[in-house]
């Protein structure tokens, strides 16, 4: 055990890549287990993982916690369902959905980035309820409470995606590509300036950054990835209804990100795994699933402030210190703002 910890700790980068390879292998193996239940569980995790990750760009990295993020899942999913039920082919329907997400995000973002953090939360909650309300009431477009069926899935040349196994790999590839893009974004200079805005908005403004534009871009990018998750959701579920974007579901997305750990990108995926799995397995035994969800949330907010991912990281670190692989006090963490102050502002 000790030597393993030392090994991992000394080769941090290699260990990270190794961990990633293991995760990818597990993801690839799931359809081979031969159970359609695991495949659809895996699909749920992937889609909600992407949704929670996309929220993290906004909430964890920019400091703008949106309580209306499921709306973009909704607009994407309804876009596909609406297009298909009005005679569009699959790919034009996807285009329609992406367009709808982009327009919604552009309009909502215009208002949302003008308000401060707390008002932002309330405003996004209200906007989320607006989308839910339209889905619920605007029967001519959304089918109201009955929802809309999603007729058909895309096909990739000769590969038929109607089978869940093949569809799973399709979703996995897209989610991984999106995750890679999101990872690149948060590690880019743009991503660092988002973190700067989160830490000290006034300072970033003084340094000459266009804070409103940064927030607006973060909002739109985050929404578009949420919309991609929605499109995947529509093809996975083959049915869309207002329930999936109601207040509770908007809250659950935030919960995934917070329980997993905000501002870590992988943490929200972990949160999505935990919550989707619990929903599947615990709700069999406990009728009051939503109550349990609420309790977990309250406990996380009160006691586990860095979320599961932060907890894991500090546990690994403690192990490393315990086995003498790392000095008890690590090197001072790089202050992003200090770095920016010298590099940026040009």
């Amino acid at each position: 055990m000790g030597s393993l910890v030392r090994l991992v700790s000394r080769h941090g980068r290699a260990a990270q890549i190794g961990g990633l390879v293991v995760v990818v292998l597990i993801c690839l193996a799931i359809p081979q287990l031969g159970s359609s239940f695991y495949v659809s569980l895996g699909l749920s995790v992937l889609i909600y993982g992407l949704l929670a990750m996309s929220l993290d760009l906004l909430a964890g990295y920019t400091g703008l916690v949106s309580l209306g993020h499921a709306s973009f899942l909704g607009v994407g999913a309804y876009g596909v369902a609406f297009g298909l039920s009005h005679g569009l082919d699959v790919y034009p329907a996807i285009g329609l959905a992406l367009g709808a997400v982009a327009v919604t995000a552009a309009v909502f973002g215009l208002v949302a980035v003008r308000v401060k953090e707390i008002t932002f939360v309330i405003l996004t909650l209200a906007l989320g309820q607006l989308v839910w309300g339209l889905a619920f009431r605007w029967v001519a477009v959304s089918g109201g409470d009955n929802g809309l069926p999603v007729a058909g899935r895309p096909s990739l040349g000769p590969i038929d995606l109607t089978d869940n196994g093949a569809f799973y790999y399709f979703v996995l590839a897209i989610v991984m590509a999106c995750a890679a893009i999101l990872w690149a974004i948060v590690h880019s200079p743009f991503g660092l300036s988002l973190q700067g805005i989160k830490d000290n908005e006034a300072r970033m403004r003084t340094l000459g950054y266009n804070v409103v534009l940064h927030k607006y871009l973060a909002f739109t990018i985050s929404a578009v990835f949420g919309g991609v998750a929605g499109i995947l959701f529509a093809f996975f579920n083959l049915y869309v209804s207002p329930t999936m974007i109601d207040f509770n579901h908007n809250g659950t997305v935030v919960q995934m990100a917070v329980v997993g750990g905000l501002g870590t990108l992988w943490g929200p995926v972990l949160g999505a795994i935990v919550i989707v799995l619990m929903q599947q397995f615990v709700s069999i035994y406990i009728g009051r699933w939503v109550t349990l969800l609420g309790i977990i949330f309250v406990v996380t907010v009160l006691f586990a402030r860095t979320g599961l991912w932060g907890g894991l990281r500090s546990a690994v670190r403690r192990l490393a210190v315990h086995y003498g692989a790392e000095p008890p006090v690590g090197p001072a963490s790089v202050a992003t703002l200090e770095t920016l102050a010298t590099e940026g502002g040009q």
Partner: protein, 286 residues
């Protein structure tokens, strides 16, 4: 024309209910900077407590008291038990209240089931009055009257009493207030209770106006949020104007564009925010 007057009356009386909710929300936010997302669930639970009291005693006054008293107890528990340890950290406070709201909504569903319930007001309140050519239910006038009364009392409380002066001072500068020897924690608890009591009162009145059902909590919370966003967070005057704007727009929307009812409510909100991000009466910086 008659229909328009009818819709306007509906809008104004609905605004009364929204004011009861919005004023509590905005008071709590104004002093404590807490966005209390349990406000909708408090409304729902207060209403349910009023409903069971009404079933047991057939006394409407008792039902009102039960709704308010139960939510006062709830307010103490939430503020002292959970929120106090997070003081000064707005996002965790908000997320905590969201978790609690989930629990309350789900437990209400477990206890009271999925069917809508309502409280019937007794005697003359259950009848209608004739206003010119319009017949209008007295219960709605009662709600409006209660809202006006509460608005006056809050106005006097904040503007004319010692406690109100402390609250106003606390809104402007918390540290200075506690440095002056005022127990700010007690003040916080008191204001928080005032907010939950108003929500409980609104719940019992709402039970007769709108009925109570699972999901009514997040629906009414949305309206309360729009009221305070439009009016300006932390402003009592804003809550008055905001609830009138929202109440009227919602009723006209429902009457004339039923499919787009929510849109007719939210589009003006977006326009107002583009013009004044802090709301009509809010202070810049919130």
């Amino acid at each position: 024309m008659q229909n328009f007057i009818q819709q306007s009356l509906n809008g104004i009386t609905y605004a009364g209910l929204l004011f009861l909710l919005g004023s509590g929300f905005t008071l709590i936010f104004g002093l404590m900077r807490i966005v209390n997302l349990t406000h909708g669930a408090t409304y729902l639970l207060g209403g349910y407590f009023g409903y069971i009291t009404m079933q047991a005693t057939h006394n409407f006054a008792l039902a009102l008291i039960a709704g308010m008293a139960s939510m006062a107890v709830f307010g103490v528990l939430l503020e002292r038990g959970l929120l106090r340890s997070l003081r000064g950290r707005p996002i965790p406070e908000l997320l905590l209240t969201m978790g609690v709201a989930f629990i309350m909504g789900d437990l209400a569903l477990a206890a009271f089931g999925g069917n809508p319930v309502s409280v019937h007001m007794p005697g003359i309140l259950d009848q209608s009055s004739q206003l010119g050519r319009i017949t209008y239910p007295n219960s709605r006038f009662l709600i409006l009257g209660v809202a006006v009364l509460v608005a006056l009392m809050l106005y006097l409380l904040l503007g004319r009493t010692r406690a109100g002066a402390m609250i106003r001072a606390g809104v402007d500068n918390r540290e200075m207030v506690s440095a002056l020897g005022i127990d700010i924690n007690r003040l916080f608890t008191a204001v928080f209770i005032l907010g939950t009591v108003l929500a409980g009162l609104a719940g019992v009145l709402g039970a007769s106006l709108l009925t109570l059902y699972p999901g009514a909590d997040s629906e009414i919370l949305t309206f309360a949020l729009v009221v305070v966003i439009v009016g300006g967070l932390g402003s009592l005057k804003g809550a008055v104007v905001g609830s009138l704007v929202v109440g009227l727009l919602d009723n006209y929307g429902k009457a004339y564009f039923p499919d787009l009812a929510y849109f007719s409510l939210f589009a003006p909100m977006v326009l107002i925010l583009l013009w004044r991000p802090q709301g009509l009466f809010g202070k810049a910086g919130n």
